[in-house]
Amino acid sequence: MIRKIADRLFKWYCNPEYYPDIQGDLEELYSDHLEQNKKLAGLKYLADVILLFRPALIRPLFKNSIINSAMFRNYLKISIRNLQRHKVYTAINVIGLAIGLAGFLLINEYVNFEKSYDSFHHDADQTFRVGNLATSNGTIEVKDAMASYLAGKVLQDEIPEITNHTVTRKLDRMILRNAGSTYIEKGGVSADIRFFDFFNYKVLQGDVEHFFDDPHAVVLTQSKAKSYFGDANTVGQTIEMLTPNKVTLKVTGLIEDIPANTHYPFDILVSDGIMKSRDDYENWSYNNYYVYVKVQEGSDLTVLNEKLHQASLKQFGEETTEFMDIFPLTDIYLKSDYSYEPHIMGSQKAVTFLTIISIFILVIAWVNYVNLSTARAVDRAKEVGLRKVVGAIKAQLIGQFLFESFFINALGAIVALFLAQMALPYFNILVGKELVVDVWNYWPFLRALLIFTVAGTIISGVYPSLILSSFQPVTVLKGKFRNSKQGVYLRKGLVVLQFTASLVLIASTFTVYRQVQFMKGTDKGINTDHVLSLTVPRASTPEERKTFRTTINSFKDELRSNPNILVVGGTSNLPGGGHDDINATTDELKVIGKSDFLEGTTFMQWNDDYFMEAVGMQLVAGRNFDREMASDSAAIIPNQSFLRRHGITDDAEAVGLQVRWGQHEKARKYNIVGVVKDWNRTSLKTKVEPTIYMPWMTPRSLAIKLKPDNYKETIKFIDSKWSEFYPNVPLTYSFLDERFDTLYREDEKFGNVFAVFSTFAILVAMLGLFGLASFLSIQRTKEVGIRKVLGAEISQIVVIFFKDFIWLLGIAAIIGIPLIYFSMDQWLNNYAYRIDFPWALAVLSLFIVVAFALGTVGYQIYKVAVISPSRTLKYE
């Protein structure tokens, strides 16, 4: 039995030439062994078979030896000679493939990074975040990423599938003090004892079970710890907290720096206990916390969301317009459509667009290879004919041309590796992320490079090798060779594909830029020139609370005393913040006598009486707040959007009307004293919301209008006054127009990435066209000669050649322009304020493609057309 299996194995791998006699030897030995020990004979046979597996004895890898090493060397030699002879062709292919591969792989790296967010947590696919939906007449109006403190606990009690929960809040601005220095920390979050059940960051020091036993415990990441304590032992140290609470924090743990690919980054974890003094702690009424829950494996999400719906009804009452829902952790970064996200979100659309561009680049490079090698078929036809005559079979020729394709692809890959390495620092800047430090020793990159080199060989090599290997020796050696009709059509089709891709990319780049320009340039409805903004620290002790008002008022007065400071206004929310940097209420409001109670979110901002002037808000009716009038405590100024929603079209008519807030009996009434023109407080992605402005004379944020001259001096003055009034905290300020500009940074980044890679794609396409035109014109050298003899002008000849390409460009335009229209129009729909689809730019893009294409083709034809016919027709 063993002998039979062993023999079969041996027969399988052994060189057939050697098999009979070696097997004979084995048989002979076996029968000898059989006499000595029956049982062991079979095993010995097997052992011998295994030991016979040696390079000298095994079957050659390929039957009929399509690839035998001598031929292989010949292929290599022929390939190298061909590549050397046609240097331009080689360069175009190699450079094209290199740019294509490098671009594709770098983008791929970025896309993978974007998709990797939060997937490293254990049970990431069972972790969800609780959100809050505010509905209006049954449709969802606002999706809030935050929930109330109690949501997690209640949901875990109510719904059996939910097995665990954790609650955390972002502490946007903490002021800490250690060893005499004050730090403003923006990366703090609160955490309860279950935090590490969800986010399993690596603990370096301390006991994770008891991290937050002390209500004043704090856990630092490695780099934070280093900036506070240097290399000293971290656990057991203390840090003074000034804001939000005035307490002494005790460091109980040290964790590794958290990776960049999480939607909830932080560098300081403060015990949940510190939040106890807040109103929203263990309270249902405030949605200020991020609540994460873990669900049982295999739970049905729709069933679960239905249970959440029931739980919401139970919790908030049957009449509620507010519902809890859950959203998968790993989808948050790219797919969340919730407001109040903790950090800058990624964009699924950008990822998709980039993936498409990267595929375009690579395909364009492959198309170059296909086009150039089939166009060059004539050059190789005689070689193929001769090889066939001396006995090559088709499979061998296919092998040869595939080998050549592999050779070029591999050269391209090597150059691509260099290119990618050189481009990496710029690429990292371009996408604003440190993705990889070196591609050399980054295994996923190298693996992808290898895979796509092989894939490229097959995709770009198969068709040319089939074409080239199918020539009939009789026809090609007789000299009657012509390219096949189908081949020409395919080539033209591929050229159309390249033109279309180039056209789409150019037009899309223009559109993205135009939209960003539009958003930056559009009148926001306020004047942000030379308006400086700053926020004074929160009062954290009872004494500070007592003096807060007087301090801020005298600070403002001091500032006003400087003639270079024109206005000092105060507000709760500075313009130019994120789209969720605003207050909102879902209470039902009505304008008495004009509208019924309306469901839906109303946005609120508290300003003092100078703010309107400081930022140049325009009053269209009525008056501003007046701090002298006692009745103004119940005054409000709505914007036009608010009035329109409540059915008031005449702004002046609204002044004097009252707004009732909430359905209950004791609901307060507010007097409309004025109306402001709609203005954009944030990026133009969002529409102007229905907003009401309410009076508050001492808000913490200030908008300070400066005189343009010597504004640097004025800032110095502000800084000196600041240190008089707020000595504990360093001054941080920004200009309002800068704040607005940062809102568009992501869009600009997207535009830049798009522009860079579009340029590369077009470069590769034009390179290919350059090569193709060169071959086609050389092939028609004699035709050009004859035409010239018969009296054609150079310009006429050029036009004849152009005709072919004009056709192709026309088809590309017919396919490309609708494609651009539908994709870019959809993209523009992301923006509440968008440009109309820029037809002029689409036409301009077409013009650019045509100009580049005809320029390239024209250059090649011109080169042929100027040759004297006496030279081109010498041999006829």
Binding site: D21, I22, D25, D48, P55, L57
Partner: protein
């Protein structure tokens, strides 16, 4: 040394083929080596050495008779070629030369 590539084991096999003159087929060579050198030789090691040397031209082979004991498979007999002989002589010369070059003191050295 580049001229004749001959490994230690190859040399033994080549010599044994010579010893067995005209009767040198796989099993015979194996048994001869095992008997004379008192060491185990696997079929794999032997056969790969034989085929390698055949490729190098040190050995020639012919297919011989079949018999029942071999499951109807033929024997393959190996013979040393002229080149094989040269290689052996070269190898032997090298050794002799080396032996002769050893100063007599080196071999008479005793551990004190």
């Amino acid at each position: 040394m580049k001229k004749y590539q001959l490994g230690e084991f190859e040399e033994i096999v080549l010599l044994t083929v010579g010893v067995l003159f005209d009767e040198a087929y796989g099993v015979a060579v194996k048994e001869e080596i095992e008997k004379r050198l008192n060491r185990k030789v696997s079929v794999g090691a032997l056969q790969s050495a034989l085929r390698r040397m055949e490729k190098k031209g040190y050995l020639s082979s012919r297919v011989g008779e079949t018999n029942e004991k071999r499951g109807g498979k033929p024997k393959r007999f190996f013979n040393i070629t002229a080149l094989g002989k040269e290689a052996l002589e070269y190898s032997k010369d090298i050794r002799t030369e080396l032996w002769d070059s050893i100063p007599s003191v080196a071999l008479d050295l005793k551990i004190v």
